[in-house]
Symmetry: C2
Subunit: 144 residues, 2 copies
Amino acid sequence: MEFSLETLKQKLCDREYKLTPQRRIIMEAFTRNPEKHLSAEDVYGMVKQNNPEIGLATVYRTLDLFAELDILQKMDFGDGRSRYEFSASDVHHHHHLICLACGKVMEFEDDLLETLESAVEKKSRFRIVDHQLKFYGYCEKCGK
Amino acid sequence: MEFSLETLKQKLCDREYKLTPQRRIIMEAFTRNPEKHLSAEDVYGMVKQNNPEIGLATVYRTLDLFAELDILQKMDFGDGRSRYEFSASDVHHHHHLICLACGKVMEFEDDLLETLESAVEKKSRFRIVDHQLKFYGYCEKCGK
DNA sequence: GTATCTGCAAACTCTTTGCAAAAAC
DNA sequence: GTTTTTGCAAAGAGTTTGCAGATAC
């Protein structure tokens, strides 16, 4: 799936939500930073530059809404704030490498997990709808 | 590794920390619930029953300390509070199945990930020290 | 026009911190 | 005895909520 403005409009309309300037602007923040894992505060800082009147609460509400519409995926890297990126529910899953020294988050792709997922699903009688894999360690720069 | 009282004493002593009743009691809460993923509030509730004078801040400080000593592992299931269980850094890694309906957390064992880990390590030049795998879905009871 | 959405400020939850008294070694 | 540790209360961070005015459709 691709997340253009049209997709957003569609998804909002489907559920009787309105397309407001704030929602469009927040969407654009992600379109312009597709590879980043933005926190609410990050997004707020970015959108406030051109729209100083926007409220932080609106950012939070919009991120929640987008997560509910499966446009964004909420995630947690253990630093006490939630982060968001475009949902990848229907594309290849990617995972995260988190540097314990500098906090940098890198991504990697893998599909080995799909195999594991179906095995676990069978054994555990759990119906799995999503997974999250994080590796913690030290990036090249932080070495050691 | 096994986490007896002796281990605790040892680990504390090694780093010039003292063995206080509070620390012992909190340790016991985990020994009595080895399979649970306790939050600070959970632990507080449990230890307060026999030791009403204990403070929540002490619980937080102790959990932090135990995580630093690698006795406990801090983890996050996305519900806004940290959870702790005995560290498994030197034993087989286990992972979590989290029910999106009732919130129940189940565990499963797997070592397939070790293979993946070394592959990623080579490709990415990341030195990996830990990993976390979570599957989200619906448990048998919550069905669909 | 009407129901939704926004901005603001206040509230809320989880966690951390400062400090003086208490306790471990 | 000295240094660490505790309990309390207050502060802090991130997030949510109530409400009256503004806005999308």
